[in-house]
């Protein structure tokens, strides 16, 4: 089975990769979209002083 990897996906904010598996005829048997990133903002803002939170979560996406 032929495998095409698109790694990384580009021209957007964030990390991602796509694995495409082709069958004998060359059609797409299956495709997987994977997110190879996690930073855990939703967890590490816990316990943070409230005035910090807006200024930290703005770094989830700087764009």
């Amino acid at each position: 089975m032929k495998r095409i990897s698109i790694d990384p996906i580009t021209r957007l904010e964030g990390h991602g990769k796509i694995e495409i598996f082709l069958n004998e005829e060359g059609g797409v048997e299956n495709a997987y979209f994977q997110i190879p990133e996690l930073r855990g903002f939703e967890k590490f803002v816990q316990g943070m002083p409230v005035e910090e939170v807006p200024r930290v979560v703005s770094r989830i996406c700087g764009v």
Binding site: G14, E37, F44, M48, E51, E52, R59, G62, V63
Partner: protein, 318 residues
């Protein structure tokens, strides 16, 4: 003259540093005239295999922003180090760990538990968690391994220069680009695109004598706009933070948060911040000091917001 071969990559990043580079506005055309961009995921469609195919040391300069959070961030840091002549730790995350290193107060288990199971908006009845390798009918697919501790870039790769800031200001980014293009860079390991003095040197606020009798938070009190914020009891990191950002925060009415990192000779930004600020507390009695210190809501996330990954202890012991 041959065009400069440039690469830019993000680890555990937010895209803010890329946006800051683009914020040089029309000067981007000058950059385009002087450099060929060979790898920049946010803007151009080159893949990892294109980088792998390059000869070693092919790229003249690589700007690496974002922290090292997982095995892919580390792997690409090693790859880019191999394929470049000069590697720059660009932005707070690569320089010091940055905002993602606030996660060092938790570990992988706690983070995964909340994100994939406990959070109010998670719907995961089967209790699925991301695995590094997953078998699918067609074969095997992989994702990176999530590390317990976030690291700055220089923990995993040899760094030539550091450009601080969250993000670095477009003005300073252009100064760095010009220094690179004219070959006018200082000794290896230097921090570039920033002043060697602290924020206080550039700050417009009136400075009198510092005698802090209590701490205030901007959540509950408004800083008066003409005098030094630290003198008023607000926790300004100005005294230990490197200048060069035009004191944007102070000019906007809030105390400096320390994103430009410490000045030279500081091994641990949080420790130095405590040292500097404690010395101007006006109290001698132990109980009085304890009461004043209790007014600070969270010491690690106040004194070391951007540099926990680079601190001497690096992470919370759990």
């Amino acid at each position: 003259m041959a065009k400069l071969k440039l690469g830019s990559y993000w680890g555990a990043a937010c895209g803010g540093c890329d946006t800051a580079i683009l914020d040089v506005h029309e000067k981007i055309l000058d950059l385009d005239a002087a450099a060929d961009i060979l790898f920049w995921p946010i803007a151009v469609d080159f893949k990892y295999k294109d980088v792998e195919a390059m000869p070693d040391g092919h790229m003249d300069v690589v700007l690496y922003h974002g922290a090292i959070r997982n095995s892919e961030n580390e792997h690409i840091a090693h790859l880019l180090r191999k394929k470049s002549k000069v590697m720059v730790a660009f932005g707070s995350c690569a320089h010091l760990g940055g905002i993602p290193s606030l996660a060092n107060l938790y570990d992988k288990k706690q983070i995964f538990q909340y994100v994939y199971h406990d959070s109010p908006s998670t719907v995961n009845p089967a209790g699925v968690e991301p695995q590094p390798t997953t078998k699918v009918p067609e074969g095997e697919i992989t994702i990176p391994i999530f590390y317990d501790t976030v690291m700055p870039l220089d923990f995993v790769a040899d760094v030539d220069y550091y450009v601080p800031g969250c993000p670095p200001t477009p003005k300073q980014i252009w100064n760095v680009v010009e220094a690179i293009l004219t070959g006018n860079l200082p000794a290896k390991g230097s921090v570039v695109g920033a002043s060697s003095k602290t924020q206080c040197d550039e700050c417009h606020l009136k400075k009198n004598e510092k005698k802090i009798t209590g701490f205030k938070r901007i959540a509950t009190a408004q800083p008066e706009q003409e005098t030094c914020y630290l003198e008023q009891g607000f926790l300004c990191m100005g005294p230990i933070t490197r200048g060069g950002c035009d004191t944007r925060c102070q000019l906007s009415g809030v105390p400096c948060r320390g994103c430009y990192g410490p000045v030279d000779g500081v091994l641990d930004m949080g420790a130095k911040a405590i040292s500097a600020i404690a010395s101007v507390i006006e109290a001698k009695d132990e109980k009085e000091i304890e009461a004043i210190v209790a007014q600070i809501p969270d010491s690690l996330r106040t004194f070391n917001r951007f540099a926990i990954g680079a601190s001497l202890l690096r992470r919370k012991t759990l």
